[in-house]
Symmetry: C2
Subunit: 205 residues, 2 copies
DNA sequence: TTTGAGTTGTGAAAATTATCACAATGTGAG
DNA sequence: CTCACATTGTGATAATTTTCACAACTCAAA
């Protein structure tokens, strides 16, 4: 069945909130609570959970750990995903740090840069290789996903090289709209767009 | 008329691409080209432009600068928007830097932190105040929009304080789903969600 | 002047997405 | 046991969003 992108977004949020509830020791949760935590209406929560095929009980709602696992399975989250990061600048290093504190199943396994001062250094316990070795690294380690945090002017060239080497998904932090083949999935996380959106909804609506 | 959030997202992208085209000296653009640059189908581009009420010509397409202005007006982008940032850490400083290179109409005018070593310092030419003064600052300067880059554990408390002082929109970089009144607009930019989404679309679909 | 190529604008149809409303269900109190 | 209650799951409906398809238009060349 085809699932809408928005549904995927919400499922990921549910999963994270469920994980937190589990950490807090909760064993059950009702759709209203999950709705409140994630910020979506409760009937959407139930509809979404229908999609993943998990059944709760009217008496106890949903089992927190079971539902979390069920969503994870649905999202096909493999046991471990290895990701690389290109561009060990201010933003890149902040992300290297952040990523380790989060989802342990997804980990950044290598960083790449062209600056001689950064190559062969370790930032937040991740080794930085020279950018020239990225193609080999991707092929030899079968990497599917990359994070791009190089300067805007370099972004397209890097993206093309990554795709050529077999990268299938990119998280793009640069303000450039990358031109890649349709089968490569791009997630654009440009802060400026987010900021403009907030300005729009605050001002006008 | 009510405009869908996705439409707003796309309009912001069009605007940015138009700005780039103008910088490159282009004066006209066809829907197909704008579609290619922004990554959306051309009929959606035309439909979106219908919403903003701009008319192109079949012969020359759209006038780049006029259309850019028209979209900006439609988005109600005021001449200048002043934004504050809370949490001058790794990510916060990267954003302070980034924001200055981008849209000159939107500027970060002050940063706030609780760390004595950072207070009263200037990062990327933006002055850092103590967090205790944020409420007064917001009220006295009539600030509507804030960026939150404090540690996750502090995020909710900070958000509540900001809202209490009159903030109407927040760009939230922490992984916490902030609980705020419905009239406050929140844009969540959690990298981890983006990464999980890419993993989903790369793996399964 | 006429034709042809290429584009816009948009009504109408299709597809998708969200909301509503309620029957079905399990629970615990009396 | 029975009843009242709160919650789930889902068919039906409403609303939104996208896609299709083509008439109308502009220009340039013959
Ligand atoms: N999405 C956001 O919120 C956000 C925030 C800040 C910055 N940015 C963007 O992220 C990017 C990086 O920002 P930053 O502040 O970290 O910049 P930076 O200059 O600090 O870092 C860029 C890094 O990329 C490296 N690099 C340059 N060219 C390279 C190449 N061809 N191959 C490999 N490495 C290369 C540089 O050596 C440097 O280490 C920029 O495009 C910026 O616009 C986005
Ligand atoms: N969205 C993303 O892509 C992304 C990436 C990296 C980090 N993050 C998140 O962003 C946040 C910041 O990350 P970071 O790496 O910059 O962390 P950091 O520890 O480097 O910075 C946090 C800053 O907040 C300040 N601070 C703490 N409590 C405060 C308070 N009550 N009031 C004001 N200032 C306070 C600290 O002094 C510090 O300067 C974290 O929540 C992290 O999870 C998000």
């Amino acid at each position: 069945m085809k699932i809408a992108e928005n549904t995927i977004n919400r499922l990921i949020v549910y999963k994270k909130e469920l994980n937190r509830l589990a950490t807090d020791g909760l064993s059950n949760v009702y759709s209203h609570k999950l709705a409140h935590l994630s910020g979506f209406p409760s009937h959407l929560v139930r509809r979404d959970l229908m999609n993943v095929g998990y059944n709760g009980s009217p008496a106890h709602g949903y089992n927190v750990t079971e539902l979390e696992k069920c969503i994870a399975d649905f999202l096909c989250t493999p046991e471990s995903v290895r990701v690389i990061l290109v561009g060990v600048g201010n933003l890149g290093r902040a992300i290297l740090d952040y990523c380790q504190q989060q989802n342990p199943k997804i980990s950044i396994v290598a960083a790449f840069d062209k600056d001689k001062n950064k190559v062969n250094k370790v930032y937040h316990s991740i080794y930085t290789f020279h950018i020239d070795s990225v193609k080999n690294y991707i092929k030899e380690n079968n990497i599917d996903v990359a994070i791009i945090t190089v300067p805007a002017a370099e972004a397209q060239e890097i993206a093309s090289a990554l795709v050529e080497s077999g990268i299938k998904g990119i998280v793009n932090f640069t303000p450039v709209r990358l031109q890649v083949p349709a089968e490569v999935y791009i997630e654009n996380l440009d802060m400026m767009l987010g900021l403009e959106k907030v300005v729009y909804f605050v001002n006008g609506d």
